[in-house]
């Protein structure tokens, strides 16, 4: 990264404030900023902007709604170490409403939400976790007596940005698995527009943090694909950067759990890994701050495609994935190539027989041709001696 001082004025007051507020060393804080900037694929030097934005502590108001979900997304965020969500909540954002984290309960909680929405009208960030049921007029999920659909529409109306976190909010996720009894729908479907989504079950917390910090730094959300997923995180197939990709290319597959190939870390494609049809950065961004192997494929389980609509929770886990780019060949070259065998008895005998037959026939024919030639020569010699008249007589005689 070069010399930190080139990028930052490490003695500046705000940075020292951050150090105190977050109770983390400056170096660690700057590394965190750099990690986020790198996750977003921002150019070198952008970490400075990121750091400044976090230092500034504008504390935008965030309203976090929970619908049909397991709170796994929040759980995974709580496990993020640099900094902990606790610090992020307290310092970077003003989390005014989060059902599982806030101390308030009942009417007090709803009142906090309403007052935050009123005070930060048009400026707060709305984060939605969980799918929204629409079947039977949306009666299957209510909070404070209010239906999920109504609550979402009400909160989204005045939000500066809406972010759908997790697969449930992104495209229905697990609750929408067939036959989808509650009509679980995504945030986009309810709001009737594409909203930025961070799918995953749960998503990597850094993808969410990076999206929020991008908003803080640049005042807008990062570039997204047509499904609303930030391109920095969901622009490539898991398969493209998978640590086991070399095994795929070489045709080394685990055929069942615990077999020799599986124990040696071979490709999990034939166990149903959905990496080849799932867009996410799982293979490049460590999960849960526990090391780079800490993701499903790294642990030896095939990817289930949780970030991809139509794959995760829809295709059977061990169904072989549809290849979106490279299809593996049916056959691979052998590692040790056969070098050929010496002549077998049958083939040597056959070659000898063919050669012998040809030679024998040639000799016989040559002999016959020689005999006929000798006879002809002898006759000619006789004819020359006997004269022309005799020759004619001899021919006549022969014809008779």
């Amino acid at each position: 990264m070069g010399n930190m001082n080139d990028f930052f004025d490490t003695s500046r007051k705000t940075l020292q404030d951050v150090e105190q507020r977050l109770e983390m060393p400056r170096r660690e804080f700057l590394q965190f900023c750099a990690t986020l900037a790198a996750t977003m694929g921002l150019p070198a030097g952008a970490e400075a902007a990121v750091a400044k934005a976090i230092e500034a502590a504008k504390r935008p108001s965030v309203i976090w709604l929970h619908f049909q979900e397991c709170t796994g997304c929040s759980e995974s965020l709580l496990r993020a170490e640099h900094p902990t969500l606790e610090k992020l909540i307290l310092d970077v954002i003003s989390l005014d409403y989060h059902e599982t984290l806030m101390a308030a309960a009942g009417h007090q909680a709803e009142a906090a939400r309403k007052s935050a929405m009123k005070a930060n009208k048009g400026k707060y960030v709305l984060v939605v976790e969980g799918a929204i049921p629409v079947k039977d007029n949306g009666i299957y999920c209510k909070i404070g007596g209010q239906k999920a659909t109504d609550l979402l529409k009400e909160c989204a109306a005045d939000a500066a940005a809406v972010i759908a976190i997790g697969s449930c909010a992104s495209w229905g996720g697990m609750p929408s698995t067939g036959p989808n009894p509650t009509g679980a729908s995504s945030v986009s479907e309810i709001l009737g527009k594409v909203v930025p989504t961070i799918p995953g079950c749960p998503p990597n917390p850094y993808n969410f943090l990076a999206t929020v910090v991008h908003f803080l730094t640049f005042g807008k959300l990062p570039e997204v694909d047509k499904l609303g997923r930030p391109k920095f995180a969901y622009g490539r197939l898991i398969h493209e950067n998978c640590e086991r990709r070399a095994h795929f290319d070489a045709g080394r597959f685990a055929m069942e759990f615990g077999d020799v190939g599986h124990r040696q870390g071979y490709c999990l494609y034939k166990l149903g890994c959905k990496g080849p049809e799932t867009y996410a950065n799982c293979s490049t961004l460590g999960f849960g701050d526990a090391g780079e192997n800490n993701w499903p494929v790294g642990c030896g389980h095939p990817c289930i495609g949780c970030t991809e609509k139509g794959v995760g929770f829809e295709k059977p886990i061990h169904q072989v994935a549809k290849m979106l780019n490279v299809t593996p060949p049916l056959q691979y070259p052998r590692i040790v190539e056969e070098q050929g065998k010496a002549a077998s008895f049958a083939s040597a005998a056959a070659v000898a027989a063919v050669a012998g037959a040809a030679a024998g026939a040639a000799i016989m024919l040559t002999r016959n041709l020689g005999l006929s030639h000798a006879a002809e020569e002898a006759e000619r010699a006789k004819d020359t001696g006997a004269g022309d008249s005799d020759k004619r007589a001899a021919v006549d005689k022969a014809q008779v």
Partner: protein, 390 residues
Amino acid sequence: MANNQHAAPAPVGGSLVSALTLTCGVLIALMVAILAVRFLFGLGAVTALNDGYPWGIWIVVDVVIGSAFACGGFSVAMLVYIFNKGEYHPLVRPALLASLFGYTLAGAGVIFDLGRWWNVWNMYWPTSINPNSVMFEVAVCISLYVVVMWIEFSPVVFEQLGKREAKKKVGKAMFFIIALGTVLPMMHQSSLGTMLVVMGAQIHPLWQTPLQPLLYLLTAIAMGYAVVLFESCLTSSAYRRKLETHMLTPLAKVMLGFLAVYLVVRIGDVVVRGALPKAFVPSVEALMFWLEMASFIAPLILIGAESNRRNPAKLFLAGILLMLGGALLRLNGFLIGYETNVGDAGGFTYFPTLAEVLVTAGMFAIEVLGYIIITRRFPVLPREDVQAAH
């Protein structure tokens, strides 16, 4: 036309069923059975081919040697039509017939050897061709020549079927077809030698020379005449016809001319490149080299004298020896003198399987059977009664 002074060709007639034709039939049936296995289960199921020896006898014998044996039509046509030696005209049709089968089967033999033969159309498809490849030149040239030869031979079929109009039409374009039929073999017979050149150091120094295309072309022409000697003597014996010694004697002289030029180039090349000492190292390659050279030199000794060239037995033997020499030149270059991946792995080995030998035998059986059927039923050989009175 040159052929006016000769007896017109006529079908030989007679029964098609004999011990020979039945044997051919059995060999062909065996070949078809083996090829069925080959096309269903792949090359590995029937051949001894491996990564070190991707070409076995199907390519070397059926295609490279087979097409050289099939140069009779080209050599005689060149003599008759280009050098205007009309006296050899009766030899054209039988020689052309043998070439026709030789080349058509060589083309088919390539398909047998292609691992993914269903992709073969790419070789001709304008967007996928590779004009810089020697293989492309050989493939296109041989394919074209097969078509050209069928057109060259078509008057025989038209004659027999009584289609005079068709024969007349083809006759008008024949000068062009014949010219093409002379140029094309020169191109691909030399390119077959180029294939050895591009194989570089994998070929033993006795056969690795930039002159290989010229050597292949010279031997192909000489072998063409040798095949005519062989085929004419064989046909006369088998059908109990009068020997065509009066044509074969001067033809043998032409053959010896090409052979002498070849030997000068060949020996000169080996000496100039400094490869000659390799011929005295005790090895299989050296032994095969001397066998090859002996086969080429023997005809010169055997029929070098004019009196010996009148003896059909010696003509026949000389023809066979020259064919053997040409075959050995090709076999030595492509298989005996070919070595790849010498080193830790111990090198590759190849010896044809019984199945491969039987397929090659079946290919030759098709040629023999086809020759018998067509000469007995179509006007290829000169009419015998006129010939006898000649």
